[in-house]
Symmetry: C2
Subunit: 112 residues, 2 copies
DNA sequence: TCATTAATTAAGGAGTTGCTAACATAGTGG
DNA sequence: CCACTATGTTAGCAACTCCTTAATTAATGA
């Protein structure tokens, strides 16, 4: 993966439990890298890389204040991901509903 | 990635334009591997591997009829993914609303 | 039986991920 | 200036991704 499309980058970023946990943490407000790293038993470089993936996907923003990097969540990419999933899920469910109605109609005419 | 959790497998499966296009195709009804492969310029084995990823994530089901493998979409995993995204997006938006209200309140008291 | 069609498995290569240890950078405060 | 704290970068490695070509399995039909 390199110059992948935005949606792929977002889904890719979400495809890791550690990164999802980080986003969950950020849901409760901005946090420094140290705070985000604290619950995990992995090294700081590993944390840095996870943050880089999240940043590349546009899911977080990092601002430097003194020697602390504060991370904040951004929701726009989540919106894009959400839209895709919802759209597909909904349209498929519509198909099921349609099928369901058709089956019911068929049963109705057969029974009548 | 190997014995990853379900949610990671789903997001991982969605993190590829070819696979998302395949799912979009399947939204319009079941299809054989050949039909799914048709819009792409990649080899059949590559298609097979993409389908394997989708199957591992529980997003499709394959049934063999004669020499054709019919693929059908499954939405349960999409529901799980959707839930995660929605939950996070919503709670974050709530936070923004709260912040917004506070700022407005603050402004109100300052103005008064 | 043999050729054809549909799809998968096998083997391998280029590039990426996710981790580690070691080193570098940058700001704070004695 | 020097030690300390917070974070990032580099180098290296095992595992995985996504693709390929070649061989294989499985069903159809002359």
């Amino acid at each position: 993966m390199d110059a992948r499309d935005e949606l792929s980058l977002v889904f890719q970023a979400l495809a890791d439990p550690t990164r999802r946990a980080m986003l969950s943490h950020l849901r409760d407000g901005a946090a420094t890298v140290g705070e985000l790293a604290e619950p995990f038993e992995i090294s700081r470089p590993a944390i840095s890389q996870h943050l880089k993936v999240l940043e590349r996907a546009g899911l977080i923003e990092r601002t430097a204040t003194a020697q602390w990097r504060t991370c904040t969540l951004r929701t726009e990419p989540l919106d894009a991901a959400s839209d895709w999933v919802e759209r597909h899920r909904d349209e498929w469910n519509e198909r099921f509903d349609l099928l369901d109605r058709r089956l019911r109609d068929l049963k109705g005419t057969t029974d009548a």
